[in-house]
Structures are given as C-alpha cells and as structure tokens.
C-alpha cells in the first residue's frame, strides 16, 4: 500500500503544482458556461410567456419566428385587466390566500409554541404527527374530502361545495402542518434563558409568546408566511375539484378553464393570464428571496 501511494503521488503532483491557478481559471470558465446553459433552460418558459403575451393573435397565427415580437402590443393585458371575469379570479385568489395565511398563522404559531416549549400529554406524538401530515399529499385526500363536504351539505343544508370560501377550510390542511413544523424548529433554537427570564419577570405564557418568541423568531415567521401564501396561491387540484362556477374560481383554475374554450386556444391571453398569475409569488420572491430560501431549506433540515 505504502509503495503504491508514493508511486502515484510522485509524477502527478509535479504536473498539478505548476497549473493550479490555470486549472482554477478554467474551472471557473466552465462553471459560468454551464450556468448560462442551465439558466437558459430554466428561464425559457417564463420568458416565452412574456414574449407571447406581447403578441397580437394575428401575429401568433401567422407562425413567424416564435422567439421574436415584431409588433409588440399590450392588447392582451388590457383585455384581461378590463375583463370582470379575470379580475374576479384575481380577487378570489387574493382574498383566499390572504385569509388562509391569517388562519394558518393563528393556528400554527400558538401550536408550535406549545409543542416546542410546554410539554403536555401526547405532545411528542403530536409533533411527529404534524410532520407526518405534512408528508400527506393533497392528491390522496381530495376524493374523501369532496365526498365529506357533499355529505356535510346534505346533513346541515349549508352549501359549501362550489363556494370560494370552502377553500378556507381545505387549504390550511396543506399550510398548517408545514408552518407549525418550521416554527417549532425556529422556536426550539431560541435559548431557554430568554423565556425563563420573561417568566421570572412575571410575564404570562401569552406575553412570552407575543413579546419574546414572535419578535425573536420573526425571520421564521416571515418564511412561514411566504410559504403559506405561495402554496395557497398556486394550489390547483382543490379549487378544480371544489369550485366550478366561473365567479367562484381562483386564478390558476380560472385561467385554464375559461381561456381554453374547446379547441380554440387564445394563446396570447392565456400566456398573459399565466404571467399575471405567476406575478405575485415572483414579486414576493424577488423582494424576500433570503427568507424564501430559508423557509425552503428549513423544512427538511430543521429536525
């Protein structure tokens, strides 16, 4: 073994020694080269959305170079932003997302506080259970949930199917477990001395939560809020199953079911709608990228 390593190290080391910096310069160049290729691959669809949204229907059907706009026009934007139907989708999406974020935070933050700091019977099992529910995908539950709400309306006479507010009951099943989970992680990282000091000073548990934990764990809270908003905004399956009337639809479902009429695809408007539908998460991401990424990595790494 010893002789082998010496044999190997002898010649190769000499060669490497002189070309270290040149190697590194080349590695850097190659890195940039491949990064550019990957960025092109990753940004092609959104850029193509933008290109198409600036074209008139005539230009699209003329089948000229698809990557170039010869006569840019804002007609598609004007058409959508003045259509009551589209504004309704946008409004529905906005109100659902904002309310779901509030509901999520009201449930998740106290629960995370209780689970990370105050022990009670079954709290460890509940902690694991929260994580397990986060792993349950929505595609597993949409059929029983749909049937459940149908049965519920039959029994009580309260119509929830095909009303936008039914989503306020359903979306929290997606957002609350994850938000609780990452808030547990953030709360657990706060030193015990801090809340002990607060309790000694006579603060109640509620005051400890609002005066100490929430301010200190604010980055985590922002990350959880962003997550809850993005998930509620992007959700597609549940609104597709639970809402059908055009005035009850949220953005993604609305764009897909109303702008695609039979075989007639008005691609200019569809791409404009898709871009406007993607805008709120993208804008939030552009301004709060670090929180967004913190939330993303915390979900799997905080344990």
């Amino acid at each position: 073994m010893a002789t082998m390593t010496i044999d190997k190290a002898g010649p190769t080391r000499k060669v490497k020694y002189g070309s270290m910096s040149r190697d590194r310069a080349w590695a850097l160049r190659w890195s940039y080269f491949f990064l550019v290729i990957f960025v092109i691959f990753f940004l092609t669809p959104p850029v193509y959305m933008l290109i198409t949204s600036l074209k008139s229907s005539a230009e699209i059907s003329a089948a000229t170079n698809p990557w170039w706009v010869s006569r840019p026009t804002l007609d598609n934007y004007v058409a959508l932003l003045t259509s009551n139907q589209f504004l309704r989708f946008f409004w529905n999406s906005a109100i659902v997302s904002i309310l779901v974020v509030s509901i999520t935070m009201l449930i998740a933050v106290p629960a995370a506080f209780a689970l990370s700091r105050m022990r009670f019977w079954g709290s460890t099992i509940l902690g694991t259970g929260v994580f397990l529910t986060y792993l349950i995908p929505e595609t597993l539950l949409f059929i029983p949930l749909f049937k459940l709400f149908v049965v519920f309306s039959d029994w009580t006479g309260i119509q929830l199917i095909n009303r936008w507010y039914v989503l306020l009951f359903i979306y929290p099943t997606l957002t609350v477990p994850f938000c609780t989970w990452i808030m547990i992680g953030y709360f657990a990282s706060i030193p015990k001395e801090l809340d002990e000091a607060a309790i000694i000073d006579g603060a109640s548990w509620f005051q400890t939560l609002t005066r100490i934990f929430i301010p200190v764990a604010l980055p985590g809270l922002i990350a959880a809020t962003i997550f809850a908003f993005t998930v509620s905004w992007a959700q597609f399956l549940y609104p597709l199953v639970f809402t059908t009337s055009t005035d009850q639809l949220v953005m993604p479902v609305g764009i897909i079911t109303t702008l695609i009429k039979g075989d007639v695809f008005n691609w200019g408007q569809i791409m404009t709608g898709a871009l406007l539908g993607a805008a709120p998460p993208l804008i939030i991401y552009a301004f709060l990228m670090d929180y967004y990424i913190a939330g993303l990595t915390a979900g799997a790494t905080k344990g």
């Binding site: 190997k8 850097l28 890195s31 990064l35 990957f38 990753f42 940004l43 669809p45 959104p46 193509y48 959305m49 059907s61 089948a63 698809p66 990557w67 449930i107 106290p110 629960a111 209780a114 700091r117 105050m118 009670f120 509940l126 694991t128 259970g129 929260v130 529910t133 792993l135 995908p137 595609t139 597993l140 539950l141 059929i143 029983p144 049937k147 009951f169 929290p172 099943t173 993005t230 992007a234 597709l240 199953v241 993604p252 479902v253 695809f265 569809i270 791409m271 898709a274 871009l275 539908g277 993607a278 993208l282 991401y285 552009a286 967004y292 993303l296 990595t297 799997a300 790494t301 344990g303």
Partner: protein, 312 residues
Amino acid sequence: MADVALQPGSTAATRTAKKRSSLRNVLGRKSTIAFLMALPLILLIATLVVYPAFYALHLATLNKSMARFVGFGNFEFLFKRETFWLVVKQSCIFAITAVLFKALLGFIIAHFVHNIPAKGQRKWRGMLLVPWVIPPAMSTLAWLWLFDPSYSAFNYTLGLFGAGPIPWTGDAMWARFSVILVNIWVGAPFFMIMYLAALKSVPDQLYEAAAIDGANWWQRIWYVTLPMMRNIIAITTLFSLIVTFANFDIVRILTAGGPLDHTHIFATWAFRVGIEGSDIPLGASVSLFMVPILAVAAIFILRDIAKRGNEA
C-alpha cells in the same frame, strides 16, 4: 419553589385555597394552556386529514352509487383492468426517472454555483430558483404552448437545424418524456438549493486534506462531498419522491393523461375516475394505491430525522 417558602407558615390556608380554585388551577396549569394552544391544530388534523384518510378506506369498499358494501370488489375490478397496470407502471417510471434526474441535475448545478466567487452566487441562485417559485399550473401552461402541435417554438427551432417536428404531447413515448421533462424543470431548483446549502456546510479543511493526499476531483466528490451530504441527499430525495409520485398539476394540464391513457399517473387517473367519471369509490381506491409507497418513504424520512435528533 414558592410552595416550599409558604409551607412552614400556613399549610392549612393554602390547602383550602387550592380546593376552592381547583378548576382555575387546572385551567392555569402549564400543560392545560399548552393543550388549548395546540387544540386548533389537533382539531384541524383530526377532522380534515385523519378522518378523511379513514373515510377513503371506507369509501373504497362501496359500490358506485355508494349504497352497497362490496368489500374488496373495487380492488378486484382494478386488478383486472389493463389501464390500472398501465397507471402503476407509468407512475413508477415517472417518479423514479424524474427524481433521479432532478437529483443529478440539482447536484451538478449546485457544484457550478458553489464554484463561482461568493459575491456572484446570489444572483445566479436567484435566477435558477425561478421555476420553483412560479405556480406549477401556470408554468405548465407555458410548456404546453412550447409543445403546441402546430405552433411549437421548439419544433420551429429544431426546424432551423433541419430536425423534423417532434410530436411532444401526441406520441405516447414523447408525451411521457415531456411530462418528465417539465417535472424535472420544476423540481431541479429545489434540489439545487438543498445541495448548495449542504455543500456550504462541508468544511474546507476536508478538501485541503484530500488535496494534500493527492485526491483527484472525482475522489474528492466520492470520498468527501458525498459522505458529508449523505443525509441531505437522502431526505431531499425522499421528499421529492413523495411529491413527484403524488403529482397532479403537470400531467393534468400538459396531457390530461393522454394520448390513450399513456401518461396517466395515480393522481390524474383518480381524478378522471372519481371526479370526472363520478365513481367516487373507485377513485378513492385508485388514490389509496399511493399509500404503500408514500408510507415507505415517510418511514425512512422519520427514521432519518430521529437519527439526526439523537446526534444533536
């Protein structure tokens, strides 16, 4: 502490006071407050996650009109259908291929981002994460338009090089390729971010030591990077396996299961059968077939997290 101080003075007085306000004591106890704080969460999980899950089991044993108990009748019916086995096969191919390529691509891109000077990394990372941020339903629409049979921008570009038009969503094999491609496009940035975080946590000394020992780049990846990232790789892959296996948006919008059911996966087929075909019990049975694979992945994730909890 307070009790000890009080005891010598007035034991009897405190005892009567305790009795009088026993209800308030229970309410004021730490564990009760904690339970009340967690109660909304418990109710939510119990009524809208756990109960529906068991309700699905119940639904799966009913006939189409949900009036009669048929036991395993729905499952027997599924086993006899060719489409079901097609769906099983396609779900597995879809999930495994997509996760594999997402992990590979994420790993490679993370290395490239890690290679460049630290002050430029933020910008690149920002651009590379965009596919993950756009709602999948919206970005799949853009792909649908890129794949359009008559106006496909890809086919136009290929045409410039003399390559023939590709039936992106028309032909069974190409349609499978397309849904997997879109899934990779959406999911690879997530892997990239996770692996980048993991790469940054590997101490530089290990690489220096490896370089002094004469390790080439391949040995450095194999003996230093991969063992250090093992945990993150495992957990990210399992997460992604669950999400990909249960995917709905991409297949639904891009092909809606076509051509001839050749891209259906469990979720889209369950939707087709259960909601569109209004055979709720059969749809519930189809989606229940996701449970075994999801359960295995979940068990491994939990084990991993428990292990890490013990290490810390």
